[in-house]
Amino acid sequence: MHDDHPSAANGSADADGAPQTPGAADADRCPHPGEQDEPDRAAEPGADAGADGRAADEHPPERRPTDQRGVSRRAFGKAAVAIGGATALSACLDRFGHGAVPSGVEDPGTLPDGQHVWDEFLGLDDHDNRLSPRHHVVLLLDLTSEGVPSTEDRETVETALRSLERAYEWSSDGLLFTIGYAPRYFERFDADPDGVALPEPEPMAPFEDIEPDRPDAVLHLASDRPDVVMEAEEALFGEVDAANGRGMDATFEGVFARPDLDDTTVRRTGFVGEGLPADHTDVDGVPEDAPVDEESPLFMNFKSGFEKTQATESFVTIESGGFAGGTTQHLSKIRLNLQQWYEQDNRDQRVGKMFCPVHAEEDRVEGPGHNLGTDSGMDDACTEDVGESAREHGLVGHSQKMAADAREDDSPLMIRRDFDSTDDGHAGLHFLSVQQSIADFVETREAMNGTDLTDSSGVGQRLNNGILQYFSVQRRGNYLLPPRALRALPPADP
């Protein structure tokens, strides 16, 4: 196609002559799907097939992001994490190199008791909001054996997870991960998990039609480095011998069946952070020319996860019972339908629907909203009487509902660790949250539905009701994340 552009493909600077910039882009050395690494920022799509044939020649053709002529570096990067697998990983490393990843601890016993204790190991933005790791893989796992797990399997799982903790620093620079268990897992024990209400997932809105996820377990891998989440996944399933250069002492092989790489129901991938959504608009569900801001961490073009809109980790930690020190996790697979959002709504409508109509009236939000600092700027005008505000404005903002109705003791009820996705070739969101109980998630989601507001104002079930018009939830799952000491195939009553 464009084989006559080798300089673009191989170049160390983009077409404008700008040097490669270190920092965040450097961390994304082996880019996530849709992400373009800095040197090729200006390379034309499809510009690079023949220019770097090395990786393509050295590996079998199947499951390779580079196995077709005419695939640009950008397309290569776009494919890597989403495709997954050892070959994609090695091609990724061959192509972009594997910069130094900090090693983990000698003694995993020194890590926090809660698997979900990530906050102090995350990066910070200019306002000291915590930044979620940029790249994510979530695997829904089934045990290969029936009945109560054996002690041997339990030890195998624990050894494998400790290998990861020794291989990678427990941080966004290294690897953060959790393993959780679904209600179906506990059926093996004919008992509910001790002290934890863990219901099967249900539809959460009058218009929702979901498939419940019913695996045994869920594994969440997260890092600023796409090659790290890919390598950790491969190492856990024995596809590569080492993680970050350190041999694995055990793997999940024989205990958990490996999810099919092509099955986006059980293998979900995604990203969050500045620049990533803007580079991913070439999928269904978001207009290709959507003006997604380079500074926006998410497809909807606004910041979320303000420090003060997140609960603290101690707030979401289970306080008593056999799983004290753990937490619960909700995971939903959401399809984003943003054509109306970008091509029909105007900026004021988007701001009003995401935040609060007063934010639109007073131009409180600049760009994606970094100017708001550490909270979403909800004040009395937004939250004192949401019902009256909805009657007056014909509109209620997403943040407005959250701030008014999804709080306890002046704290949000959960921590959002969600991320965008291009799984299935469609813009999506994997909504992942941790909270002390699933009931806290339910309460938050009910606030988001704003059902009482639809009864008493012109706000519809979806129309002008926050952002409910712009997505559909496909699947939901509820999980228990045990404390680290109990994370490996725990009994129901530890």
């Binding site: 929702e208 299935d424 639809t454 008493s456 706000v459 519809g460």
Partner: protein, 363 residues
């Protein structure tokens, strides 16, 4: 209710039905009827339109693509040329042009078959279009009103060529209060899938009729007869339940007020203040408003509060509240806290926005 009992060909109603009555849509001597297939007319607006209901630049024929049951609901699916429309938040409108690659304005009408009532439910509707098992697009279409169709859900869609599409329409449980025969109904989410044949040539056969001489003038084109689908209109004042005690206007909407004593459809209430706002000319209901009211009698204020949306077969979609009694001479003030949040087609987009309070001395 007005309903034309016309047999719709095909079990699933898949035949492209030329809409009956289309050649007689407008009582005038206009001579500019034509088959102009240039969709550019769809992007124009009448220059001289005022802030009231006005005659649009044109109107398009529609292709009826099917009707099907979905739980308690009945759903009709149809399309026409892509349309511009206006979405509403608060009292502000935003014009939505159609895109170059849009092929149709796809519409769904949700109704109750037994009572021939179009249901302006609160917008929990979703449309998912697949082709050969692959997703083409999913959207929650806008609840909207047009002069020809009344209340429906619609948006423009870009269908990638001629072919067969599976169009799944999902409906949520209803969020408005249901009275009378509607009590206990529409409580479940439901969906139905239409197998929809689409071709550009079929679409291009749809007639476009322009109103070059009267566009922008106060008035409205008449509603289209949609065969077996009921028209989306509320009852004439004389057909409302109770005793009509007043009629007012605001933002070019007509507000009909009825006093329903011992309403058969609201249990245990003595008097029900029924407020039925509708478009002029066509009596299209105006849902998704926030209304409140003050009722004063000689003895003082007898009611002050919100009017809640409700639906009942003989009253249609309306707003109301139980009150202590309604007497001749009472002063009623209806305040529009927010105007109808439905999107608007041409001819309705400047009306029903600036809505002053309606003051009435009840008869």
């Amino acid at each position: 209710m007005e309903r034309r009992r016309q047999f719709l060909t095909g079990a699933a109603g898949l035949a492209g039905l030329s809409v009956a009555g289309c050649t007689n849509i407008f009582e005038s001597d206009e001579s500019d009827t034509g088959r102009d297939r240039t969709p550019t007319v769809a992007a124009t607006v009448a220059e001289n339109r005022g802030r009231q209901v006005y005659i649009p630049t044109h109107r398009d024929e529609m292709a009826m693509k099917g009707m099907a049951g979905a739980g308690d609901y009945r759903v009709g699916l149809m399309y026409t040329y892509p349309h511009q429309f206006w979405i509403v938040t608060g009292s502000e409108t935003e014009r939505v042009p159609f895109r170059d690659d849009d092929t149709v304005h796809l519409m769904t009408v949700v109704f109750d078959e037994a009572t021939s009532t179009v249901l302006p439910i609160g917008a929990g509707v979703s449309v998912e279009i697949e082709r050969d098992g692959d997703l083409v697009v999913e959207k929650s279409p806008w609840p909207m009103i047009s002069q020809s169709m009344g209340f429906h859900y619609g948006d423009n869609f870009a269908l990638p060529g001629d072919g067969t599409y599976d169009v799944t329409v999902s409906l949520s449980s209803m969020n408005v209060r249901r009275f009378g025969e509607f009590g206990g109904t529409f409580e479940e989410r439901a969906e139905t899938t239409f197998e929809m044949e689409y071709s550009d040539s079929e679409r291009n056969d749809l007639e476009i009729r322009q109103f070059e001489n009267r566009q922008g003038d106060p008035g409205a084109v008449s509603m289209m007869d949609m065969g077996m689908m009921p028209l989306s209109r509320v009852p004439a004042p004389s057909d409302l339940p109770g005793r009509v005690v007043g009629e007012g206007a605001s933002g070019d909407a007509t507000f009909v007020v009825s006093a329903v004593e011992e309403p058969p459809f609201v249990e245990g209430e003595d008097s029900y203040l029924l407020v039925s706002p509708r478009t002029p000319y066509n009596r299209v209901p105006l849902p998704m408003m926030a209304l409140s009211a003050t009722l004063e009698s000689e003895a003082g204020t007898t009611f002050e509060g919100q009017l809640s949306a409700g639906i009942e077969p003989t009253a249609g979609y309306h707003y109301g509240a139980a009150v202590d009694g309604i007497s001749s001479g009472d002063e009623l003030t209806i305040t529009v806290d927010s105007p109808p949040q439905t999107s608007r087609h041409e001819g309705y987009e400047t009306a029903f926005l600036d809505m002053d309070a309606v003051g009435l001395t009840l008869e």
